[in-house]
């Protein structure tokens, strides 16, 4: 029995309801156009599309990073549209782990401190936050690099630290925006492996936005987006 089989029997962990994101640039430009979407717990979902197709905007809306013009996102049973900014912060802190193309680590902190930061901000005691962060780094093969600061690390290492940070508060959904776009092929393989293992071994729900079609092999489900609309919803290589 696969994770997918388990997931379909439950409520979706993430639901997008008629999502729209409109920018007014003289005329209305639909970055996201009436997207309705369910993502089940434990799924590895890939969203692909050309540049400017709206895939990152869709990810931002689903992560609570941006607010839709209309429609709503239901994350782990919680409607995001009705939440205040502070409540949305709390949702991002507790339920979403974000990984970015350019890693976005805090350069003044060590790898360990970067990973421990979201845990600390949740009010967890420092000793526990640091121990948990150390475990995550070890799981991602960065135990030796935990005392290094981001500028002292390679791109692949930084992205793995970013993934560890995203997992720090054990989020319901791990979302990654072009996680391999800035990496060489060898490092890309490493990151792909990490994401697959997280999904396969831990049941972590993963949503990845990319234009790297190679990642489709790892996903259960592949969504193709164009002009803000999902034009194709198909099974991925891992389905």
């Amino acid at each position: 029995m696969s994770h997918l089989d388990l997931a379909v029997r439950r409520d979706p962990i993430l639901r997008a309801e008629s999502l729209n994101k409109v920018y007014w640039l003289g005329a209305a430009v639909y970055a996201v156009d009436n997207v309705t979407l369910d993502i089940e717990e434990g799924q590895y979902v890939l969203i692909k599309g050309a540049s400017g197709s709206g895939k990152s905007t869709l990810l931002a809306l689903m992560a609570g990073v941006d607010r839709p013009t209309s429609g709503d996102v239901i994350l782990d049973g919680q409607r995001l549209n009705v939440l205040s900014e502070n409540a949305l912060c709390a949702v991002r802190r507790q339920k979403v782990g974000m990984v970015y193309q350019f890693f976005n680590l805090l350069p003044g902190l060590t790898a360990l401190e970067n990973v421990a930061l979201p845990i600390r901000l949740s009010g967890t005691p420092d000793w526990f936050a640091l121990r948990h962060a150390a475990n995550l780094l070890e799981r991602l093969g960065l135990a030796e690099r935990s005392r290094h600061r981001p500028p002292q690390m390679s791109g692949g290492e930084q992205q793995r630290v970013a993934i560890a940070r995203a997992l720090a508060n054990e989020p319901k959904v791990l979302m990654a925006d072009e996680p391999t776009a800035n990496l060489d092929s060898r490092t890309t393989r490493e990151i792909r492996k990490v994401l697959v293992e997280l999904n396969r071994d831990l049941g972590q729900t993963v949503v990845v936005v990319t234009h790297d079609t190679g990642l489709a092999e790892d996903a259960h489900r592949v969504l193709t987006i164009a002009d803000g609309r999902i034009i194709r919803d198909e099974a991925g290589g891992a389905a």
């Binding site: 990152s56 931002a60 990073v65 991002r92 802190r93 970015y100 976005n104 508060n169």
Partner: protein, 579 residues
């Protein structure tokens, strides 16, 4: 909260290099403020050394409003009882706050106590009350009753050149006073006397005036050695070996202060035994009641022979003037106090000859107080004023600094002749009204406004603006970083708080640098006041209590602008951006 503070501190240290300007201006502001505390007062102390040496006290307490404030002067009414006017021909242009000067011819606010018969303590009860009140003020290390004996008559032989001829004349000593020489001015002064309170040796017979016209090959430095100090300028110094002998030294400048002798080199025939001078002095009589203190009886005088064994000059400051765009004149100023100094034992003997009963206090002109810590003179003086209302409490250091800071002679409350202050005149056909304030202080025609405090406030405002501008620029250049914080779940105000911590941390670095520099500057001066370590530490602590809240308060207020900037940063900014 701890995590946010940590984040702010980490960022401050990481961005220290980019925030050098913020740290620097904060350091300068903190330094300047510290300077207005210990350094400023220490400087004051140093500059008042000659007065301290000469008067034997750091703070003087006069009766009534002998030392009037500007408000007092403004409130005076022409012809009010007890107000007298200094003779326009008196002494040199330099007047100062010597206790003897409030006597005949000087300001005195109490018509019931006309000088020179006045004594500070007309009754023993009043004396006890005042002394008790003063001794209870923290910071007062000692009280010395300033007593001097007015000279009714006497003459001293002097020679001076008048063109090609050397003339001899017996110059009058009437109007002089006799008092005990402060122990620090004795030739064998105790070894622990601070050097700035000892007579300056090696500069005998300094010139009356020093006029330097720069550009003619002369430099001011050639004359700077005569800037301040008490200088034995002829004969010999007094010493404790003189015992109770009636010997004295005379202020050379006072004798030659007469306008007709002003530019002449006067000397006195002084051999090893000194010059015998016959002084006519009032007698001292007991009051009518048992509580009344002794006072001078001018109706009954005695003649006493005193030997003048030496002369001294009390050099005040160099007075600078710039009469023209390319002309700078520097004039050496002297305290032309008409005084004879005697050894303490000799002075006591003199008082006894005048009729002072054994064990009785002579008439007292003022109280000279020694302070524990010169650097805190301002605070102690404020406390003294509160403790003895109705008396004039004058900080010697403050008065000297007042003049020194402005390059002016010492502050003088000299009143114009009363008749010139009244009525109106017609001038060029128009009615010219005498200014409403009837007693403008003369002698300092242009006193700049005291902008010290305003300057400190402006400096902090400037420092804060620079720091705020710098921090705002830093925020703008690190938008992604703050967006990341929001992306991982920090609320807007939490992000702003990290910025405030960052600015405050930088200000703290500036504070530490500036404050340390300020105190290091102050320390040698504070230490020369023979303070113990605990007093120095206490003084530094008190300075920090002022400077730290000002610096950090300024930082907090001015961090609001960069904090506000972070509110407009959105999480979406981290998507696909590379800082």
């Amino acid at each position: 909260m701890r995590t946010l503070i940590y984040l702010g501190q980490i960022n401050a240290m990481r961005n220290l290099g980019r925030s050098v300007m913020s740290v620097l201006v904060m350091a300068i502001a903190a330094f300047m403020m510290t300077s207005t505390l210990s350094v400023g007062e220490g400087y004051t102390t140093q500059r008042a050394a000659e007065y301290r040496a000469f008067l034997g006290g750091d703070v003087l307490v006069y009766p009534g409003w002998t030392w009037p404030t500007q408000t007092d002067l403004a409130d005076l009414k022409t012809g009010a009882p007890g107000i007298s006017v200094l003779s326009p021909t008196f002494g040199s242009p330099l007047r100062y706050f010597h206790p003897n000067y409030y006597t005949s011819g000087y300001l005195t606010g109490d018509a019931d106590r006309p000088s020179p018969d006045y004594s500070f303590f007309p009754s023993r009860q009043e004396r006890d009350e005042v002394l008790t009140a003063i001794s209870g003020v923290p910071g007062v290390a000692g009280i010395y009753a300033f007593s001097s004996v007015p000279v009714v008559d006497g003459r001293i032989a002097a020679t001076f050149s008048n063109g090609l001829k050397v003339l001899s004349e017996n110059l009058p000593l009437s109007g002089f006073s006799v008092r005990a020489c402060p122990p620090n001015l004795l030739a064998d002064a105790r070894a622990d006397t601070p050097p700035e309170l000892r007579p300056s040796l090696g500069t005998p017979n300094p010139p009356r005036t020093v006029t330097v016209n720069r550009g003619l090959g002369q430099t001011l430095n050639e004359f700077m050695t005569w800037e301040t100090g008490v200088v034995p300028s002829g004969g010999r110094q007094l010493s404790s070996a003189d015992g109770d002998a009636l010997v004295a030294v005379v202020n050379r400048r006072a004798v030659i202060a007469r306008p007709d002798l002003a530019a002449k080199a006067v000397s006195y025939p002084l051999d090893q035994q000194g010059q015998p001078v016959r002084l006519v002095l009032p007698t001292i009589v007991q009051g009518g009641s048992s509580d009344q203190a002794p006072y001078f009886d001018y109706g009954k005088t005695i003649a006493v022979e005193v030997r003048i064994v030496g002369t001294y000059d009390v050099l005040s400051r160099l007075y600078s003037e710039k009469p023209g765009p390319s002309v700078a004149i520097y004039e050496q100023l002297f305290l032309e106090t008409p005084e004879l100094l005697m050894p303490q034992a000799g002075f006591d003997r003199l008082l006894a000859l005048m009729g002072l009963p054994a064990g009785e206090q002579p008439p007292t002109g003022a109280l000279a107080l020694r302070l524990e810590n010169q650097a805190k003179a301002v605070e102690v003086v404020a406390a003294l004023r509160a403790a003895v209302p109705g008396f004039s409490v004058v900080s010697v250091a403050d008065e000297a600094a007042y003049a020194n800071l402005r390059g002016q002679p010492e502050r003088v409350y000299e009143l114009a002749p009363a008749e010139s202050m009244e009525g109106t005149r017609r001038r060029s056909g128009r009615l010219w009204v005498i200014p409403s304030s009837p007693f403008p202080p003369l002698g300092q025609p242009t006193v700049p406004a005291d902008t010290g405090n305003l300057f400190a406030v402006l400096l902090f405002a400037f420092a804060g603006l620079v720091a705020a501008g710098n921090a705002t620029l830093l925020v703008l250049s690190r938008r992604t970083e703050f967006a990341i914080l929001k992306a991982i779940g920090l609320r807007g105000f939490e992000v702003g708080f990290t910025v405030m911590v960052e600015v405050v941390t930088l200000a703290t670095v500036g504070l530490l640098v500036g404050f340390t520099a300020g105190e290091v500057m102050a320390l040698p001066i504070i230490l020369t006041n023979s303070l113990d370590l605990s007093a120095v530490v206490r003084a530094i602590g008190q300075d920090l209590e002022v400077v730290a809240p000002a610096t950090l308060g300024c930082a907090i207020v001015f961090s609001l602008a960069p904090m506000a900037k972070t509110l407009s940063i959105t999480v979406a900014e981290v998507m696909r951006t590379n800082e």
